[in-house]
């Protein structure tokens, strides 16, 4: 696969994941907070295509889980195929779904019978893991994206100022960045989060989290930007622009900052998984968005308990979901680097060609 094709493939795969997560209200069969109290820790549903009589069903169906524990003890489930429900696409079943038209709520799939469909099982309150995974992705993935945007924005401004103006501003900003890089980020995040008010709603909590992660992640991109600007500002076309009377702001905006685009793009795709991981870590430790809003971190938090880790493998799914996403982002960063190197070498060979032509003339 050529670099460009690979880039497209990776970008589209990531875009697909994000679109599904944004459309959680449509793609998820239930609301993330909806408790099915008769089905705590129900295992993932089995889709049946062939019934007990050997009859083939084009439309798969699910059997309902029956809790065999009466009264005391953990729930133990067995499939009860006397109560089935076939899989339906584009169903309207609860008011929390996507508003497609006035008063219309739709889900991509659902069931039409008494059996509920928990494709990835349920948690300890009987909440559908798939729905929580999709809704949780909105928090975890977008906290990563927004925090990265904030980090890069800050990094660009701080690095740009430090690199272009130099002298004491450069020293002050870079020493500050070094302090941020020297501090262990997780403890820094803890400290900052601990100072913030406790009585915050999920939305405020999300933006606080993004703010905290963004404010602590600017140091590395700012150093890179500064490096690029330091080398670029001495180049002939910048000197020429300055000679023609261009202002600092114009030079920065028109000539210098575009030079950093390659570095910024690579940094972005490297920072996003780091920020996702930071959000997951904070939520895992109870410092992220609170219940009942889901995030991949607070979904994983139940695994801190020995019996959950030992008994219910499907609770690991948010952790497993992180792996392909991180691989996609890292592969994208790799592809971007390759492309920028190819571009650089082709630019250099073009330049050499021009010089040779000038010499020949």
């Amino acid at each position: 696969m050529t670099t460009n094709k690979k880039l497209w493939f990776l970008a589209l795969s990531l875009a697909f994941v994000h679109v599904v997560v944004v459309g959680a209200a449509f793609f998820a069969p239930y609301d993330a907070a909806e408790q099915h109290r008769d089905a705590p820790f129900a295992p993932p549903a089995r889709l049946h295509f062939v019934d007990a009589q050997g009859k083939l069903h084009v439309r798969p169906y699910v059997c309902s889980w029956t809790n065999q524990t009466q009264g005391i003890g953990p729930a133990r489930y067995a499939e009860d195929c006397s109560r089935t429900a076939s899989l339906q696409f584009l169903v309207r079943n609860d008011p929390g779904g996507a508003q497609v038209g006035p008063g219309m709520t739709w889900h991509l799939f659902g069931t039409n019978g008494p059996a509920k469909i928990f494709l990835l099982g349920t948690d300890d309150y009987g909440r559908d893991q798939l729905s929580r995974l999709l809704y949780g992705g909105q928090v975890s993935l977008f906290a990563g994206l927004l925090a990265t945007a904030l980090s890069l924005g800050l990094g660009l401004v701080m690095g740009g100022i430090a690199g272009y103006f130099g002298f004491w501003l450069d020293d002050a900003i870079m020493r500050c960045a070094e302090v941020f890089m020297a501090l262990p980020w997780i403890y820094l995040l803890f400290a900052v989060r601990a100072f913030l008010p406790l009585h915050v709603g999920p939305r405020q909590s999300f933006f606080l989290l993004v703010g905290v992660m963004g404010l602590t992640g600017w140091a590395r991109p700012s150093r890179l930007v500064r490096g690029v600007i330091l080398s670029a500002k001495e180049r002939d076309f910048i000197r020429a622009a300055r000679g023609f009377g261009a202002s600092n702001a114009y030079i920065l905006r028109r000539h210098l900052l575009p030079e950093t685009s390659g570095v910024m793009l690579t940094q972005a795709v490297l920072l996003i998984p780091q920020c996702i991981l930071a959000e997951v870590t904070l939520s895992f430790l109870g410092l992220g968005v609170g219940e009942p809003v889901s995030s991949w971190g607070n979904m994983l938090a139940s695994l801190q308990k020995f019996y959950v880790l030992q008994s219910y493998w499907w609770m690991l799914i948010p952790g497993i979901a992180l792996i392909p996403i991180f691989l996609l982002y890292n592969a994208l960063a790799d592809a971007l680097l390759r492309r920028s190197k190819i571009k650089e070498s082709s630019d250099r060979s073009n330049l050499m060609g021009e010089r040779k032509l000038q010499e020949a003339l």
């Binding site: 907070a33 005391i72 309150y125 009987g126 109870g286 219940e291 009942p292 030992q310 008994s311």
Partner: protein, 592 residues
């Protein structure tokens, strides 16, 4: 000479000499009726954290209390199995006709664990220390009757008299867990004013002595604390064999319940005191293959409850909470919340059925005092909605509940971040109350921070906590239910009762302490339970079962629903069967 005959003669003379050893010194040993066991072996238990102290005068933390219970003894003891009082260091006692004087006959000829004899001076010294205001002992509070301290007098070398300021229904029970201190070791520290600093856990074992079944052998901070058998212990079994049977008890420091469970499963730890229902379920399938036995003792004395901040707050300091108190103070609001809570779901989802739903503070574990007549209304959102409507609340078109001023009903529940069960309860309540249109936030916080907010800064809206009654008797509960009580959690700064039901609670709790007749006391305490269930100053929700585990080869196990669940009767525990020899060898010669 016949070799067998010599052996038999020697054995008889040995038995006679050991029996005589107990008898000839005039030792008033206590003959106990427990299962007769065999001596030797080492038991391994675990503690969540290092003990802060081994000093009974200053102890407050649970790990230290558990250890001190094994190292020391009291005059009258509550048998945690029968929940009744029984003779301990006081061989017998008489109560005067007016119920104000207790004259106790002490055991003669018994010794502390360092071999020093015990007498009435040790009792006098102990009570002098506990009652001394300058020492600030937490026991001082418990030794007050009607706000005045009890008086102690020596009548003879083995006779003491206690004078109570007024008749006190549970007077015998206040002597339980008041450890008798060795005057010969602590008098000097007391005179110097340093007694509260004496006997830290890191102190040299030779300076610590008590009258308990075990004595301190070794303490390695962060790793383990080892107790060894007290050779001077004053209890014997029916065969006149001196207790305890075990040579050693080692407590490993294992910081979390999960880690304790894993070590128990691996066989590193022999007993497991109080585990969650989930861990019980995780351990249950391997009982036979791994040689341990789990015990579900039923409802204990612990109960989980939700309470609102009903403190008298200044509008300047906490205006937002003050505004919300308009709702919290209404009986109908709290009753509606209670009606909306799905207690059955809490029992099922949080405790896997190993708990009992509750509507008042007395758990089914307390058979003597429970009022069966207290109504148990089932969950009803309709009734809750009706109550809220009668109190001026209404639902908006989007379902949000608003008060008469149009303000949405929103509040935050604080709960202990290290207690997974309470966080789960809070999440269930959040969903339950959401169905009434209330917006509830759950904020898990570190326990100490919650305590500061509840008892000092009063900066909280609602909280879920648990309380454990220290005794079956209602007297210790006086701190919780009277308006001036130290654990009056929902209105810590209430000087005089703010509601008629609170005034009635105060009267009833005070009255029952002074009545000596059980039936009349029970009537008064039944009414207390009815008030709690009706007016919901705290909304009692559930009482978890006490779940413990022990190695199957450990015999003499009589688990109690009260702390220390398994080791309260450590003197009667022994290893049975094949394991015993292995355990005996594991201790090695150093322990003997």
């Amino acid at each position: 000479m016949n070799f067998r005959l010599v052996r038999a003669v020697l054995a008889i003379s040995y038995l006679a000499s050991t029996a005589a050893q107990a008898m000839k010194s005039g030792e008033d040993v206590l003959v106990t009726s427990g299962e007769i066991g065999t001596r030797g072996g080492r038991l391994v238990s675990s503690l969540r954290s290092d003990p802060k102290t081994l000093n009974p005068v200053t102890v407050v933390d649970l790990p230290s209390k558990g250890l001190i219970a094994l190292l020391s003894a009291d005059l009258i003891h509550i048998n945690l199995y029968t929940q009744r009082t029984e003779a301990a260091l006081a061989k017998s006692w008489k109560v005067s006709a007016d119920g104000k004087r207790y004259t106790m006959e002490l055991r003669r000829g018994i010794s502390f664990s360092d071999g020093h004899p015990f007498d009435a001076d040790d009792v006098l010294f102990s009570f002098k220390v506990y009652l001394d205001e300058k020492v600030h002992s937490p026991q001082r509070e418990l030794l007050q009757v009607g706000g005045k301290p009890i008086q102690v007098r020596k009548l003879g070398p083995y006779q003491v008299a206690f004078d109570l300021p007024q008749p006190y229904a549970a007077a015998e029970r206040i002597f339980d867990s008041v450890s008798i201190l060795p005057r010969h070791l602590l008098e000097h520290a007391y005179e110097e004013g340093t007694i509260s600093k004496a006997w830290s856990a890191a102190a040299n074992p030779s300076v610590i002595a008590g009258l308990g079944p075990f004595r301190l052998k070794q303490y390695v901070p962060g790793q383990q604390i080892v107790l060894e058998r007290n050779p001077y212990y004053w209890k014997v079994d029916l065969k006149q064999k001196r207790l305890p049977y075990l040579d050693e008890i080692a407590f490993l420091i294992v910081p979390t319940e999960d880690a304790q469970v894993i070590r128990f499963k691996a066989g590193d730890v022999d007993v497991l005191e109080k585990i969650s229902a989930e861990n019980y379920a995780a351990l249950e399938p391997d009982q036979n293959s791994r040689g341990y036995r789990l015990h579900d003792l039923g409802a204990g004395f612990e109960y989980d409850f939700l309470f609102f901040n009903l403190n008298d707050l200044s509008a300047k300091q906490l205006p937002e909470i003050k505004r919300k108190q308009e709702w919290f103070r209404r009986d109908a609001f709290r009753q509606a919340v209670s009606l909306a809570i799905d207690r059955e779901a809490i029992v099922r989802l949080v405790y896997q059925g190993r708990a009992t739903p509750l509507w008042d503070q007395v758990t089914p574990g307390n058979k003597l005092w429970i009022d069966e007549a207290v109504p148990h209304p089932p969950r009803s959102l309709e009734k809750a909605t009706t109550l809220l409507r009668s109190a001026g609340f209404s639902r908006q078109s989007d379902g949000t509940l608003v008060d008469s001023g149009g303000q949405p009903v929103e509040f935050t529940i604080l709960t202990n971040s290290s207690n997974a069960q309470r966080i789960k309860i809070a999440t269930i309540i959040q969903d339950d109350l959401g169905q009434l249109g209330m917006k509830v936030r759950v904020v898990p916080l570190e326990f100490q921070t919650i305590m500061t907010r509840v008892f000092d800064s009063l900066d909280y809206e609602a909280s879920i906590q648990g309380l454990v009654s220290g005794d079956a008797d209602p007297n210790p509960e006086i701190n919780v239910w009277t308006s001036t009580g130290g654990t009056h959690v929902w209105a810590q700064n209430e000087i005089k009762p703010v509601a008629p039901w609170q005034a009635e609670l105060d009267t009833l709790m005070q009255r029952q302490t002074a009545i000596l007749d059980y039936k009349k006391r029970k009537q008064a305490y039944d009414r207390v339970q009815e008030i709690v269930a009706t007016y919901d100053p705290v909304i009692c929700m559930v009482s978890p079962n006490v779940l413990v585990g022990a190695k199957a080869s450990l015999a003499g196990v009589k688990p109690s629903v009260m702390r220390n669940y398994l080791l309260w009767d450590a003197e009667h525990l022994f290893w049975s069967g094949k394991k015993q020899e292995e355990r005996r060898q594991a201790v090695g010669p150093s322990s003997h």
